[in-house]
């Protein structure tokens, strides 16, 4: 698969009244055609700045962003506008024209591209069909719900047949049910139209649901990048652990006990590990948290447990899980 974006040593520094703020530090990334790529981080981590360097809504201070091998910083304004027609974007606040009807909103990018009126209308209707809102074509955005507005925004984004869709916190203003529906729609579009999607979010659940790969941004740094499954199984960076580990386990019985997190995937989910542990080793663990979720279409689960007091017992338990092919990480006490 061809490489769609390549970021090399991307650094972004904002200068405001002589105060410098580094929003991005030395980011190196590559995004491949056809994938759903997530960029996750806390608010203020720089992920919104990062996604805006992809269509040069933000200029980079150092380094380069290439789109199909063309360095965006070197393109003149007229060329960058042509490139932007291939890089569609949707937003947290939808950003539809409130004074224009749904269909007129969807036709905007086609109008910008200079496509004749009759063709614009045909294409816009086709796109509204994809998002399931043909019957709302003459409505105005203020009459639509949040989910419907985002669907219109998606139809508008797709109208110009882009190569890639950038989603800037596209589901953050929506409730969990509608978020699920929008993510499903995005996944479907990714699969049926082979559209590359870049998703910015602060919610791990969004990444788990539809992303193939994910980059974790922490205070302007790229903390970790890799397959979502791999990062879920074995998060290496501190920020990845924070995002992946359950945030609300029970309090352990003792304040100095050792905690571990065990992750299991669809292949091993059928086995009764805890029962096996007790049966084979005679050691007991205290489960503080356990949950399962679907990550990239495969069932995943994780447990946080408190180990026995004895050091040797602890090693026996960890060895048991490791030899069963599960990934084990220490959980730091906070």
């Amino acid at each position: 698969m061809a490489e769609i974006f390549r970021l090399e040593n991307v650094t972004k520094v904002y200068k405001n009244d002589k105060i410098e703020f580094t929003a991005l530090k030395n980011i190196n990334l590559s995004i491949t055609e056809g994938e759903v790529f997530g960029i996750i981080g806390m608010s203020g981590a720089g992920k919104s700045t990062l996604v805006r360097t992809l269509n040069r809504l933000e200029e980079v201070s150092e380094g380069s962003v290439s789109f199909y091998g063309r360095n965006l910083s070197e393109l003149p304004p007229s060329e960058i506008r042509k490139v932007r027609r291939q890089i569609a974007m949707i937003f947290q606040s939808f950003n539809l024209l409130s004074q224009r009807s749904v269909i007129s909103n969807v036709m905007q990018p086609l109008k910008i591209a200079g496509i004749p009126r009759s063709d614009r209308k045909k294409k816009a209707l086709e796109m509204l069909k994809v998002v399931g809102l043909e019957d709302k074509k003459h409505q105005f955005p203020s009459r639509l719900s949040g989910g419907q507005k985002q669907r219109v925004a998606i139809a508008r984004a797709l109208a110009s047949d882009p190569k890639v869709l950038l989603c800037d916190e596209a589901t953050s203003a929506l409730d969990p049910k509608i978020t699920g529906e929008i993510l499903e729609l995005l996944k479907e579009i990714n699969e049926t139209r082979n559209l590359t999607i870049v998703i910015i979010t602060h919610e791990m659940s969004v990444v788990e649901k539809i992303c193939d790969r994910v980059a974790i941004i922490d205070e302007g740094n790229l903390a970790e990048v890799g397959e979502v499954k791999e990062i879920f199984r074995n998060p290496k960076s501190e920020s990845a652990r924070k995002l992946v580990f359950p945030s609300n386990p029970f309090d352990p019985s003792s304040s100095d006990s050792r905690l571990i997190r065990v992750a299991f995937d669809g292949l091993s989910a059928g086995r009764p590990f805890i029962a096996d542990l007790v049966e084979k080793t005679g050691k007991k663990v205290n489960i503080l948290c356990a949950n399962t979720k679907s990550v990239g279409g495969v069932g995943y689960g994780q447990m946080v447990m408190e180990l026995p007091k004895d050091k040797e017992d602890q090693e026996i338990v960890i060895d048991f899980f490791k030899s069963s092919g599960l990934s084990v990480q220490e959980v730091e006490r906070t």
Binding site: L57, I80, Q99, L166
Partner: protein
């Protein structure tokens, strides 16, 4: 009131409307682009340009801070140059227009400032040029607010038009001044004032209504 006065008031109404109408149109022809320029060249906007914004802003502020009555007098040579006379309804349109341009410009700027930056960002992400963004995104989004501001501006011009009576302009203002003030005919004064109040109200309420109707 005598037959003569009633005739004069009728003519006055017509002249006032005439002055307000033409001065407003001319003020918008010049003020709308200036307002757009002020908006677009401001810090962080699509055509951000400090020097242009500063110079245009300065000129607007200076013209706006001159009391209208002083402006009327200052502009007499210019008015004579443009219309061939410095008195009468047509002549009044010149200072009225000049006086209204900076007000219109600031009002337009304020309306455009209300447009969400997200809309502009979305337009830019679609590959629209700055001019396209102004014409097809910013102006349509600001239309209800522009219409609302328009009503305020027209009502202001109408108020100013009454002042033009002082230096020989026509309209209800002149009648109020000549008959009501100089001759102390109270009923003429009150009639013209009432008519002016009604006219301002009709313009303002009509403008509000149209603005609300267009807001989707």
């Amino acid at each position: 009131m005598s037959e003569y006065i009633i005739e004069a008031i009728k003519t006055g109404i017509f002249e006032t409307l005439q002055m307000t109408f033409f001065a407003s149109i001319f003020a918008y022809i010049a003020g709308l682009p200036i307002g757009i320029l002020l908006y677009a060249t401001d810090k962080g906007r699509i055509l951000s340009n400090r020097p242009v914004n500063f110079v245009v802003g300065l000129i607007v502020n200076i013209t706006r801070s001159l009391p209208f009555l002083i402006l009327l007098v200052l502009l007499i040579p210019f008015t004579r140059f443009v219309t061939g006379s410095s008195i009468g309804t047509t002549a009044s349109i010149v200072p009225l227009t000049i006086g209204a341009i900076p007000i219109v410009a600031r009002m337009v700027e304020s309306s455009l400032n209300e447009v969400s930056p997200g809309i502009i960002e979305a337009a830019a992400s679609m590959g629209a040029s700055p001019l396209y963004i102004i014409i097809h995104f910013i102006l349509p989004e600001a239309t209800p607010s522009l219409l609302f501001g328009g009503a305020i501006n027209i009502a202001t011009v109408l108020g100013y038009s009454a002042m033009a009576g002082v230096i020989g302009g026509g309209g209800l203002g002149a009648i109020a001044l000549q008959y009501g003030y100089y001759r102390y005919q109270k009923e003429v004064l009150w009639t013209t004032v009432t008519l002016l109040v009604i006219m301002v109200m009709v313009i303002q309420e009509g403008g509000n209504l149209i603005s609300k109707k267009t807001r989707k």
